[in-house]
Amino acid sequence: MAVDWQTFWLTLQLAATVSALLLLFGLPIAYWIAFSRWRWKFLVEAVVALPIVLPPTVLGFYVLVALGPRSPLGRWWTGLTGHTLAFTFTGLVIGSILYSLPFAVQPFAASFAGVDRKLIAASATLGASQLRTFLRVIAPLSIPGLVTGAALSFAHTMGEFGVVLMVGGNIPGVTRTVSIDIYDRVQATDYAGANQTAMVLLVLCFVLLTLVYGLNRKAWMIHPVK
């Protein structure tokens, strides 16, 4: 059996959705982490960084429990839509967002914190609100960090395995991603198919990251040199 393009399409959809949503939700979290002076802020930073060190199965397990029919969230969702969140694409998106959160929020927060505070002060004395200062000064000067965060969360979601297996299962066209597909093929001793699929994923990820870093040379220079 040749490469299953449906799983690639599904994986790309998942990664794109997750990085788009992380761009949306990650920005306010990163802004808060970069500028809050709350003394317990480090607790929030630790929680955000947790998915980096946690085994994906642990994270996946708790997400599964939280989405399942015995949790308040699962019950609320089932009451609303008539079906459970677990083993659906939406459930997969939720799990992936949590799993990739640090890969978006940390570059965002680092680049926000790297913006010269004097520029932010200047914007305020010129009458700009906090939102306007963010949109006109902080965000434009953080573009390398924003691109890095979006690219990393995209790539990270492309390659995830444990969380998908726990939350999504293995439903073709719904939750079967490329990494699951490869695992299945190896289990079924279809090494040729596994190899082809793995090679396509490898090349795809390489091309993607090359494009991002090529167009965004300063991506890793998160703290601007002053």
């Binding site: 010269d116 004097k118 520029l119 002060a121 200047a122 914007s123 305020a124 004395t125 010129l126 009458g127 700009a128 609100s129 306007r132 006109r136 000064v137 434009p140 000067l141």
Partner: protein, 391 residues
């Protein structure tokens, strides 16, 4: 000493400065500062009316923090700040107007131009509330006033130091602020460029009449710009008045250190002569006591003072001078001569050792050299008296 100089313990109440056209800036607040590892308290009371007021002091005195408190970028621990009737900050009534609503123009030390915008976009930044046409008109106008109209489309990173300074000034002034805060904005410029910007800034001020608080540690800028000077040292206003009063006759040792007297000696009041408006002070030197006739200040015989004499205020004569108004004629001998750029610094031994500054021409026409016998001539009013620091 003239009555306009205010002793340190009396400066807590703002001086009564006649109000001119616009509202004056008043502040009375305290703030704990931790800077460069050391902790001190900024505790000030001041009133700044329209025109230029210089905030002068050594680095680390709290000048920038004082401006930040006015602009709302830093919150004082207690006190009040107001522009005319408008209260910006009042700790007792929990008033703390956001910096974006204070209408305080601020030109930062490093200018803080937005690096991703053009000169024009930088200047127009504070005018977002205006319709597009009005915004363009005002921006164009101020760009021309500050002679940077031709740079409008250039990126802020691509222009020269002087042009950046002008852009920062235009950006702050185009918003019609009620007070202008300038934190050493011209520090990086050469004298000629500085003078041109100062002229343009003065021109703008004639038309707008707002209080300007201008931070510097340069003596030249104090005299070039200032109508009034506040001297800040270690968080306190230690002197205030016109540049001439504050800079020429400092009352306090800290000010003397700032303005750099080359000659400063401990002295004791030996005799007071109110009928002549002078007193005699004794300076103990290695070669015995030296008597100096100085201006009259408060304090009787036995008061401990410090005498400061500028090296440029001392005359040198090669024969005993006669028929002079100067009260102090002191014989001595030249110990060494040293040329520094276009002045000659002579060290003269006369019981104490004094530094005297001369021109190259004076050295040559008097044929001065080490070992030559000379007479030092010092006017009474060239002897500046300060309280001796007791700690």
């Amino acid at each position: 000493m003239s009555s306009t100089r205010v002793p340190a313990q009396e400066v807590d109440s703002p001086p009564s400065v006649p109000a001119t056209g616009s509202a004056s800036l008043r502040g009375q607040f305290r703030k704990q500062i931790v800077a460069q590892g050391q902790e001190f308290v900024l505790e000030v009371a001041f009133e700044v009316s329209s025109g230029f007021t210089i905030l002068f002091g050594p680095s680390g005195a709290g000048k920038t923090t004082l401006l930040d408190c006015i602009a709302g970028l830093t919150k004082p621990d207690s006190g009040t700040i107001s522009i005319g009737e408008r209260v910006l900050f009042d700790s007792s009534r929990s008033v703390d107007v956001a910096s974006s609503k204070r209408r305080a123009g601020y030109v930062f030390q490093d200018l803080a131009l937005f690096p991703h915008m053009t000169v024009e976009q930088n200047v127009a930044y504070g005018l977002q509330h205006l319709p597009h046409a009005e915004r363009t008109r005002r921006t164009g106008l101020i760009l021309d006033t500050f002679r940077i109209g031709h740079l409008a489309r250039r990126n802020a990173r691509e222009i020269s130091g002087g042009e950046r300074q002008r852009t920062a000034l235009a950006r702050a002034l185009v918003t019609d602020p009620e007070v202008l805060l300038l934190d050493e904005p011209l520090a990086a410029l050469d004298a000629a460029a500085k003078a041109r910007i100062i002229d343009d800034l003065r021109e703008w001020n004639r038309a707008h009449q707002i209080p300007n608080l201008y931070v510097t540690h340069s003596r030249e800028e104090v005299f070039a710009l200032g109508e009034r000077v506040l001297v800040l040292d270690a968080g306190r206003i230690v002197a205030q008045g016109t540049p001439h009063e504050v800079m020429a006759a400092p009352q306090q040792e800290t000010v003397a250190q700032l303005v750099g007297f080359e000659n400063a000696f401990d002295a004791v009041v030996e005799a007071v002569r109110p009928e002549r408006g002078t007193m005699m002070c004794r300076v103990e030197g290695d070669g015995g006591p030296l008597a100096l006739e100085t201006p009259l200040v408060r304090g009787g015989v036995g008061t401990l003072l410090r005498v400061g004499i500028r090296a440029g205020d001392i005359l040198l004569a090669t024969s005993p001078p006669v028929g002079l108004s100067a009260r102090n004629v002191i014989p001595g001998r030249i110990k060494s001569l040293e040329q520094r750029d276009v002045i000659v610094s002579a060290r003269v031994k006369c019981r104490v050792e004094m530094e005297v500054h001369l021109t190259l021409a004076a050295r040559d026409s008097l044929q001065l050299e080490a070992g030559k016998e000379v007479w030092l001539v010092i006017k009474t009013h060239s002897c500046h008296l300060m309280q001796r620091s007791t700690d």
